[in-house]
């Protein structure tokens, strides 16, 4: 039969997994920022449609990563809040 301690431990394991996911998202955001800077320098002056579209896609990726991080913060808060009520 499961105990509260086991339940809390299972939640903490999930929280740890979310934290690992957060680390990957943060690292992805940093690498993406560097790539955006490199491309901005290399492609400065280009008005090519594909370049504009690439910049837009990278901006969208950055926004999605930010939103992802925000959602994971909320998830961790919810999980810990629930755990504290057990």
């Amino acid at each position: 039969m499961a105990s509260v301690a086991e339940l809390k431990s299972a939640i903490e394991a999930a929280v740890q997994q979310i934290s690992d996911g957060q680390s990957a998202v943060k690292a992805a955001g940093e690498k993406l920022g560097e790539a955006q800077q490199t491309l901005a320098g290399a492609l400065e002056g280009s008005g090519h449609e594909a370049v504009t579209a690439a910049h837009a896609a990278l901006s969208q990726a950055a926004q999605e990563l930010d939103d992802c991080l925000t959602a994971t913060l909320a998830a961790i808060e919810q999980a810990r809040q629930y755990s504290s009520t057990l």
């Binding site: 979310i18 896609a57 969208q60 990563l65 994971t72």
Partner: protein, 280 residues
């Protein structure tokens, strides 16, 4: 090396170094966490962060997709200026975020739930949403054992406007599988809405999307609080959902996402084909 060759090498290197692998890793970790929390909370009505994790997973999925789109545009640019795409956007790209979900990285399928032990709260809520009587599964159809399979079934029933069979598909599944609908339907919803509109869904498209689906959603899910559909469509259009005085039941958003996916697929004429690819 000429200046243009130097530029091409720089673009290829930058494209190759875009963090698709990191996003894929984050996705896998978030999915594992969702499964773990799903197992913990299966018998509880408390959503226990699963909706937030579903949203995080969807954003990570969309980020990965956007990175791949950027790689494709960079490859197109190189091609347009007379240079072979080479590594940028070529077919040797690592397994993509989009396809990896279907290439052996999926969690093991769960055993089909015993109808008698399926969580009572899930089937009770499904009955409320579909305006049906809460009764045990008649065992005529084996319940779906993973969210993607459930999404295919739900979208087929919703597209056909068959409320009774929609209820039958939903009522017997594990709550974890049912709640997983929200995560697997999210990316499909945005893409399908984009196909319908002819451009990525934006805030001004909310009214049109609502008018496309609200009637059929009311017919199929007469017990769904209207605010749930507003929240779902707001997320599709990337705008903050209207604030609600009470949190929605965790089953509502998941079921609504599955149904709206089916309605959009049907509207686009895609429900007759194998819809698995359409959900990636």
């Amino acid at each position: 090396m000429s200046i243009i060759e130097d530029l091409a090498a720089q673009l290829r290197a930058t494209s190759d170094e875009l963090p698709v692998d990191l996003v894929t890793r984050a996705l896998e970790q978030l999915r594992t966490a969702t499964e773990r929390l799903g197992r913990v909370r299966q018998a509880s009505v408390n959503p226990l962060a699963v909706p937030e994790l579903s949203a995080a997973t969807e954003h990570a999925h969309l980020a990965g997709h956007a990175l791949q789109v950027a790689q494709d545009h960079l490859a197109a640019y190189l091609s347009a200026i007379g240079l072979p795409a080479g590594a940028a956007g070529d077919t040797a790209r690592p397994s993509t975020v989009v396809t990896r979900r279907h290439q052996g990285k999926e969690p093991a399928r769960r055993a089909a739930p015993d109808a008698a032990t399926a969580p009572r709260w899930w089937s009770a809520r499904v009955a409320v949403l579909t305006g049906s009587k809460d009764r045990p599964s008649d065992g005529a159809a084996r319940p779906a054992t993973d969210p993607e399979e459930l999404l295919r079934r739900v979208s087929n029933r919703a597209g056909a406007g068959d409320r009774e069979r929609l209820h039958a598909e939903l009522r017997g599944v594990d709550a974890e599988v049912g709640l997983g609908l929200a995560a697997v339907a999210g990316p499909a919803l945005r893409r399908l809405a984009g196909q319908l509109l002819g451009h990525p869904p934006r805030v001004p498209d909310l009214h049109r999307l609502r008018s496309e689906v609200s009637g059929p959603v009311r017919d199929l899910l007469p017990g769904l609080p209207p605010a749930v559909l507003d929240t779902l469509l707001s997320r599709v259009c990337r705008t903050p959902p209207p604030s609600q005085p009470h949190p929605a039941h965790p089953a509502d958003q998941a079921v609504a996402a599955g149904v709206v996916t089916g309605l959009l697929l049907n509207r686009l004429g895609g429900n007759r084909s194998n819809s698995r690819d359409n959900h990636g």
